[in-house]
């Protein structure tokens, strides 16, 4: 649980132990002297104190030593930072990580989507990290990597996992109510297994419809997959329980009050309302909820929206 399971992580750990070791040594010297002097020079044992205003050679020696020690620590930390930030291998597997309140999604070069980060062992992986709403931070302690997800830009970080297994993946930058539930797993597997997984269900992914093609028909089963892979699950339950957004259970066809441009009105939840809630969610916000849903324009295709509508219809 303590040891790193990535190549750079092991290097970082050894620097951690060197730097911490120096710190423990310095701390021990300070506390030892403090206690030693306090017992040696009590008022009883030493009733006549000696004023010593300073000692230039001694002070300069301590100054010089301190500068040398901190420069050494700086240098130790610098090396791997350079590798992590500036020396991303060109052949690294590129995975897009997208953070949104409060779920991670990962997209592979062939378009495959996943909520867990599956990576091959002993191969460099480059994470291209984005956010759809507020700041998040991609953090896998076992790999010793962390990088903030900043809306509006792509930030990269890389690692080479060197041990198969399942590791915790956190959001490390506070992002609102369910920040502490924005968890996932990083699964490190053999290259064969990884390739099998990557190709396995790839054909199940619908290719984006060519321009001008008739709007794809919805499919409730596909909608159910999208519900979890696109992160709807973080805010909308399917069992009627209350989360940040309204539950999907039995919601289709009901009448709700919404706020449009600051005025309340009543609407019926139909295909059109769900579609507009996906594309421009803050236009009509259900009374009692915050306008915080990220717009899905450019993220969901028409066909995918139709699938979600079918899925929501099916939740009676």
């Amino acid at each position: 649980m303590f040891g790193a399971t990535s190549i750079l992580g092991k290097a970082i750990d050894s620097q951690f132990f060197i730097i911490t070791g120096i710190c423990v040594a310095l701390f021990s010297i300070i506390i030892f002297l403090m206690l030693y002097f306090s017992f040696k020079y009590t008022r009883k044992k030493n009733p006549n104190p000696t004023d010593i205003e300073g000692h230039a050679p001694l002070e300069l020696t301590f100054l010089g030593l301190s500068i040398a020690i901190v420069l050494l620590m700086f240098y130790l930390g610098w090396g791997d930072y350079k590798t992590i930030r500036e020396e991303i291998p060109k052949d690294a597997l590129a995975v897009k990580a997208t953070g949104q309140m409060w779920v991670w999604s990962f997209e592979y070069p062939n378009g495959k989507l996943s909520n867990t980060l599956n990576v091959p062992v002993n191969k460099p992986v480059r994470m291209n990290i984005e956010s759809r709403d507020v700041l998040h931070s991609f953090f896998v302690p076992a790999f010793r990597v962390k990088q903030d997800a900043v809306p509006g830009s792509v930030k990269s970080v890389w690692f080479t996992a060197d041990k198969e297994g399942t590791y915790d993946l956190f959001c490390a930058e506070y992002c609102g109510t369910n920040h502490s539930a924005m968890l996932s797993k990083a699964v490190v597997m053999s290259e064969d297994k990884f390739n099998g997984w990557l190709e396995g269900k790839a054909e199940a992914q619908a290719a984006p419809p060519p321009p001008g093609a008739p709007t794809a028909k919805g499919d409730a089963k596909k909608g159910a997959e999208l519900y979890s892979s696109k992160g709807c699950v973080a805010c909308h339950s399917t069992d009627g329980s209350k989360r940040i957004g309204p539950s999907f259970k039995g919601i289709y066809g009901t009448k709700v009050k919404v706020t449009t441009d600051g005025k309340q009105r009543e609407i019926t939840i139909d295909d059109e309302y769900i579609r507009s809630s996906e594309l421009t969610p803050n236009a009509d916000v259900v009374v009692g909820y915050q306008p915080i849903m990220p717009p899905q324009k450019g993220i969901l295709s028409d066909g995918e929206i139709n699938s979600l509508i079918e899925y929501i219809k099916s939740l009676k």
Binding site: M1, F2, I12, Q15, F16, I19, T20, C23, L26, F27, I30, I31, L33, M34, F37, Y41, T42, R43, N46, P47, N48, P49, D51, I52, E53, G54, H55, E59, S66, I67, V70, M73, F74, L76, G77, W78, D80, Y81, I84, D133, L135, P141, V145, K146, Q147, D148, V150, P151, G152, F170, C171, A172, Y174, G176, T177, H179, S180, L183, Q290, I292
Partner: protein, 536 residues
């Protein structure tokens, strides 16, 4: 030096005019203003402790225990806002700076007494606004005390009001800073040269410059967030064309130097206490004095070390790491000199010195773990985990907080003319020390294991560390109650203190306890340095 009797003036606590509360809250006497701050700040400290206690308690089981996620998020935000902006930033300069700085340099008051009163009113207004966020619709801010954009722009909670509170508090801090800088420059008694200033004065002086120079940037930054929330101007939210990393820069340009606003005056108090109880001059007076200025200067150039994983440039990361290591040097010099000042001293194990030892112990841990965090590659792993939470509590509470407790026990007999029960004060220190370490040390381990901060819930592997830490919070709270209770009891029932309770050589110990209304019968002439102790 002559013995200053209270004489015809009477002391500052005695009834003035019609007396009553109005003779306090509209008093321009720096000592009364110091006491006003003490009462207000200590009350808010107890609120902050209570919030922290319940935050910890919530984590006693996994999943929801005594509150909902939203409540927890508001709680740690309010805990941060109160403990930083209302407690640890103002506490030592506003209480002891106000009460003692004029006396220590041989002045009758600060340079601008009415401005000083205005600062206290700004402080109270800020505190009122911060508490108000709790009471009105939408609930208290849930952003964390850092108010990071764009979340702070999008959340529906009372962020605008909370930001306004911090801006108003900023005015209090700036005005206090201006007052102290002017006072030290203009009102020193004859013979009180810069090299005879008590080291506490040096520290408060350096702090005052940071307050003046850095606080306006925070005010502007937070007002920009308010403008973005109310008017929709896109400054920080990328959805409107803004830059969230710009917010972090502007925030930390103030908020990192603010750490030195917290710690410098506490270091100043320790620099007074150590020589007095060692009965010898401080080792390396000039080094300690100039290191205060050094910390203030270099500390203003290191803010980017809060942003190593924010995605800002690689070059910026290297620069900020290097300067972070440099700022450790003046702090280290102070620690060496305190320890060096014990050498060949004649030590009296009095309560304030014991608190000062606790300070040195805890601050050293805080400072040295800061070096671990300042190393770039380690920071990537440790940033935003419990390791950081542990580190800054060791610096701010273990350092600045325990430094304040030390100062309180050192100057209490001077301020109120009464002595507390030293045995109980020592027991309280023991509880505080054990509680503090039990609470915060496990967080280093949890942080290294990867426990992120600001989490309402946690994975099973973190359970044991959380439980130890929670037990620590109980011990710590017991220590706080005993310490405060002992002092309040002493206020009414304590034995009379002597004018020079500890045998100090600085000017405040040459006047009666409590000090007379005008501090001195006549302005003294200073002939010696601050740690020139009489020898038998």
């Amino acid at each position: 030096m002559s013995d200053y009797a209270a004489g015809a003036q009477g002391n500052y606590l005695q009834k003035e005019g019609r007396g009553g509360i109005l003779s306090w809250i509209f008093s321009t006497d720096h000592k009364r203003i110091g006491i006003l701050y003490l009462v207000a700040i200590l009350s808010l400290f107890l609120v902050g402790v209570t919030l922290g206690f319940f935050m910890r308690l919530e984590l006693i089981t996994r999943g929801p225990t005594i509150m909902a996620a939203n409540t927890y998020n508001s709680l740690f935000t309010l805990h941060g806002v109160i403990m930083l902006f209302l407690f640890i930033i103002p506490v030592t300069p506003s209480v002891f700076g106000n009460f003692l700085l004029p006396i220590m340099i041989g002045a009758k008051d600060v340079a601008f007494p009415r401005l000083n009163l205005l600062s206290w009113w700004f402080y109270m207004a800020g505190a009122f606004l911060a508490i108000l966020t709790l009471l009105i619709a939408n609930g208290p801010a849930d952003t964390g005390w850092t108010f990071y954009a764009p979340y702070s722009i999008r959340t529906g909670t009372n962020v605008t009001l909370a930001l306004s509170a911090v801006v108003v508090l900023g005015f209090s801090s700036i005005l206090t800073g201006i007052n102290f800088v002017t006072t030290v420059h203009r009102l020193r008694a004859p013979g009180m040269t810069w090299m005879r200033l008590p080291l506490f004065v040096w520290a408060v002086y350096a702090t005052a410059w940071i307050q003046i120079l850095a606080t306006p940037i925070l005010g502007v930054n937070l007002m920009l967030v308010v403008a973005e929330r109310l008017l929709g101007i896109g400054i920080f939210d990328p959805a409107k064309g803004g830059d969230p990393i710009l917010y972090q820069h502007l925030f930390w340009i103030y908020s990192h130097p603010a750490v030195y606003i917290m710690i410098l005056p506490a270091m100043g108090a320790i620099s007074e206490i150590v020589p007095v109880f060692a009965r010898r001059t401080i080792f390396g007076y000039k080094a300690v004095a100039y290191s205060s200025i050094g910390i203030a200067a270099v500390g203003s150039l290191v803010w980017g070390h809060h942003m190593f994983v924010s995605g800002f440039s690689y070059t910026a990361g290297v620069y900020f790491s290097l300067f972070t290591f440099f700022v450790a040097i003046p702090s280290a010099i102070k620690v060496y000199n305190w320890v060096g000042s014990l050498y060949k001293g004649s030590l009296e194990a009095a309560t304030p010195l014991l608190y000062a030892f606790a300070f040195i112990f805890l601050f050293s841990i805080g400072g040295l773990t800061g070096l671990i965090l300042g190393a770039l590659s380690l920071n990537i792993h440790l940033h935003d985990t419990y390791f950081v939470v542990a580190h800054f509590h060791y610096v701010k509470f273990g350092g600045a907080g325990f430094g304040f407790f030390a100062a309180l026990h050192y100057w209490f007999p001077k301020m109120f003319g009464r002595m507390y029960n030293t045995k109980l004060a020592n027991v309280a220190l023991l509880l505080l020390f054990i509680g503090f370490n039990t609470l915060f040390f496990p967080l280093f381990v949890l942080g290294f294991q990867g426990m992120p901060r600001r989490y309402y819930d946690y994975l099973p592997q973190f359970t044991n560390g959380q439980l130890i830490s929670i037990v620590g919070s109980w011990i710590l709270v017991a220590g706080v109650i005993l310490m405060v209770g002992n002092l309040i009891h002493a206020l009414f029932k304590g034995k009379k203190a002597q004018a020079n309770q500890w045998g100090g050589a600085t000017l405040e110990w040459q006047v009666p306890s409590p000090p007379p209304k005008e501090n001195f019968e006549e302005i003294p002439e200073v002939k010696y340095g601050p740690y020139h102790f009489k020898r038998d």
